[in-house]
């Protein structure tokens, strides 16, 4: 095995790992965050950084699995989704 072969495998493995990470963040952001915390890296800020879904766009990958907290407040308040109801 030449040095280039080793380098090649390393680069390919890195690219694949990064891709896996991005896809995981789209489909299972909570799982990814749990993994991060397991390694001792994550913080609450990561949830807040999820892209907003209201930009009128197709940049909505952030909503896939977990509804992002759209208005993170310092109090850590709970966001209640709007329910179907006819108000008086």
């Amino acid at each position: 095995m030449t040095a280039y072969d080793i380098l090649e495998v390393g680069v390919v493995a890195l690219i694949v790992a990064i891709s896996l990470w991005v896809v995981l963040g789209t489909w299972a952001p909570r799982l990814r965050q749990r993994l991060l915390r397991r390694v001792g890296l994550g913080s609450a800020a990561d949830t807040a950084a999820a892209p907003a879904c209201d930009a009128g766009c197709s940049a909505c990958d952030g909503c896939s699995s977990a509804p992002p907290r759209r208005h993170p407040t310092e109090s850590g308040a709970v966001e209640h989704p709007i329910r179907f109801q006819r108000a008086d």
Binding site: V16, S19, S58, D61, A87
Partner: protein
């Protein structure tokens, strides 16, 4: 005193389309979506700025409403925040009422209603420039005295248009008005009294609006203009984009050729050429088409034409069991179904709202455009029809149209099933026309381009890499004949599910592409490119998806895949937002089930009929 107490909480409240979000963007430097129709903002949005004296101000942008008697979920948010009943939200210290200076007769009534809440308030008279242009003269002093609150003129769309407001908010809070209109008293009468003392209006409507509406809302011309506009839009998507796309295509090919020379054959070579260049490159070239589509959408949104289109088509939508209110959510779905489904919050009736949410995914979102454009370019000849229209544009129009017809039929069936006899309200305000600002449009397009490129650079690229991995491993056994991809995971999976799609005429390559296409529709294009690049033995296949599918697929297969994409719920984000908006997995299952069923049926019919005919 803690830092928390130092923060001033203000909320922007007012009638729909009074420019609250434009003001919010100006104050906080954010870039929330603004457009010229009621109901763009459907949830509360938070932003911050620091005042000249260093005070921290937290600004809340609220959905517009005509009254605190909320009739839809978005209006309920505004009511609850103003009354301090919204869970997890402190009651604002100060309400900034935003009123359109050209429409005070309507907007002041809500200001008076809000005054009864007893909160400190200021009134921002927005769009003062437009009012001045129409000759509307407002005596700010008199209005201030009559209302008992500070009145500040603003022009939210102008650079320094809010400096006076910022200065006033920096001072001490104004006291709540001492004399709100008594409960039970007629607010309209009070507004008339105020207008008589403080406002002179030469003419109740803008002359230009009357003139334009005579054409755009004319029973015959109006519909003709609408059809021509839609037609022209899809023609332009193909005609204008062609030179730009050719340029991008050449660029992608050049980069591919360069890389192929630099990187020696092997694993990395395959990843870069067959995976990245072939896959991602095949999606990037559709950027011009997406931008042209959004150029039209932004122009229509800013100009105030959209509610007019809703007015013209309302009767058809009622016939199908939708309301005219569904129009704007459905129209937003042409960009992406996710904001479209969220915009359905402006619909009062829960069942109308549900119907709108369920059919929104049928509107052709911009992520479908690359798939459509690829197949059309490969299979539909570039010829002129009737001298003026190009056939490719016509087919694209037809695909968009099929989605719309599909939505109307589905809504109609739903109406029949639930035997709905209820009345559906329209009550839609038609705003004044506005000339779209070229700079705003340019910024909007830039943002769309960035969104698309970011999407290409993250999710599409990543999925393509993973697909390449799945398609390259395990490597074929020694002495194997045929393409290596046949022995890989992707090849095995593709061959395994192909029988299910055989009646639709899909080959195993298409089946492989459909799976990652669930995460983002465009990935189907990059996945096909990667699969074909790996299937071919030569090196020349990279970046040349179009001639390959044109050569290998039959026309019925191409048409069948187009039909599949009109209906199939190929988008996890859409299903997730349906779940969030309806809080029901049942609705998600219903939506996904009926869409897949419809897609399968439509594809099968298309394939079988096309095969008989060709």
């Amino acid at each position: 005193m803690t830092a928390m107490e130092n923060v001033l909480h203000i909320a922007l409240v007012g009638n729909p389309n009074s420019g609250k979000t434009a003001l919010f963007n100006r104050l906080t430097g954010s870039r929330q979506k603004v457009a010229n129709y009621a109901g763009v903002t459907v949830e509360r949005k938070e932003g911050r700025y620091t005042s000249p004296t260093g005070r921290s101000v937290r600004v809340l942008d609220l959905p517009g409403t005509y009254s605190l008697n909320a009739t839809s979920p978005d209006e309920a948010v505004t009511r609850d925040v103003c009354m301090g009943r919204f869970e997890g939200e402190t009651r604002p210290d100060l309400l900034v009422c935003v009123a359109d200076a050209t429409n005070l007769r309507l907007h002041l009534r809500f200001v008076l209603e809000l005054q009864r809440l007893g909160l400190p308030m200021v009134l921002a008279l927005n769009m003062c420039d437009a009012a001045a242009k129409r000759g509307i003269r407002i005596d700010v002093e008199a209005l201030q005295a009559g209302l008992g609150m500070p009145v500040i003129e603003t022009v939210a769309i102008r650079h320094r248009g809010t400096s006076e407001l910022v200065r006033r908010l920096d001072g001490p809070l104004p006291p709540p008005t001492a004399m709100p209109v008594a409960p039970g008293a007629d607010l309209h009468a009070e507004v008339s009294r105020l207008l008589a003392t403080a406002v002179t209006v030469p003419r109740r409507t803008a002359r230009i609006d009357d003139a334009l509406d005579r054409f755009f809302l004319h029973p015959v011309f109006g519909l003709a203009i609408l059809s021509v506009l839609m037609f022209f839009m899809f023609q332009a998507v193909f005609a204008w984009a062609a030179p730009l796309m050719d340029g991008l295509d050449a660029g992608v090919s050049a980069v591919g050729a360069m890389l192929a020379n630099v990187v020696p054959p092997g694993l990395l070579h395959s990843l870069l050429i067959d995976g990245l260049i072939a896959g991602v490159g095949s999606v990037v070239v559709f950027l011009p088409q997406i931008l042209i589509l959004f150029l039209f959408i932004l122009f229509l949104e800013e100009s105030g034409y959209l509610p007019r289109a809703a007015f013209l088509l309302d009767r058809l939508m009622v016939g199908a069991g939708l309301t005219g209110r569904s129009f704007i959510p459905l129209l937003s779905s042409f960009a992406c179904a996710v904001p479209g489904i969220m915009a359905a919050r402006t619909i009062q009736d829960p069942r109308d709202r549900l119907a709108t949410i369920l059919v929104a995914p049928l509107m052709t979102c911009s992520a479908r455009l690359p798939v459509y454009a690829l197949l059309i370019a490969a299979f539909i000849p570039k010829q002129q029809v009737l001298g003026a229209f190009n056939l490719q544009g016509l087919v694209l129009f037809g695909l968009y149209f099929s989605g719309i017809v599909g939505a109307l039929v589905v809504a109609w069936v739903m109406k029949k099933i639930r035997k709905d006899q209820n009345e559906h309200a329209l009550l839609l305000e038609l705003p004044s026309y506005r000339m779209p600002n070229p700079i705003d449009i340019a910024i909007g397009l830039w943002e769309r381009a960035m969104i698309f490129l970011r999407r290409v650079g993250t999710i599409i690229l990543s999925l393509t890499v993973l697909l390449w991995l799945m398609s390259s491993f395990p490597a074929p056994p020694d002495g194997a004949t045929g393409a290596p991809i046949d022995y890989s995971f992707a090849g095995i999976i593709g061959h395994a599910i192909q029988p299910l799609f055989a009646p639709l005429g899909f080959g195993w390559e298409i089946c492989v592409a459909l799976v990652p296409g669930m995460a983002a529709r465009e990935v189907a294009v990059s996945a096909l490119a990667t699969v074909y690049a790996l299937s071919s033995t030569g090196d020349d296949a990279a970046g040349q998806l179009l001639p390959i599918i044109a050569g290998q697929w039959s026309l019925p297969t191409a048409l069948s895949l187009l039909a599949w994409y009109v209906f199939a719920p190929q988008c996890v984000s859409t299903l997730a937002v349906i779940r969030r908006e309806t809080e029901s997995w049942r609705t998600v299952a219903l939506a996904a089930g009926y869409l897949f069923g419809l897609a399968y049926l439509a594809s099968m019919l298309t394939y079988q009929i096309a095969r008989l005919l060709t």
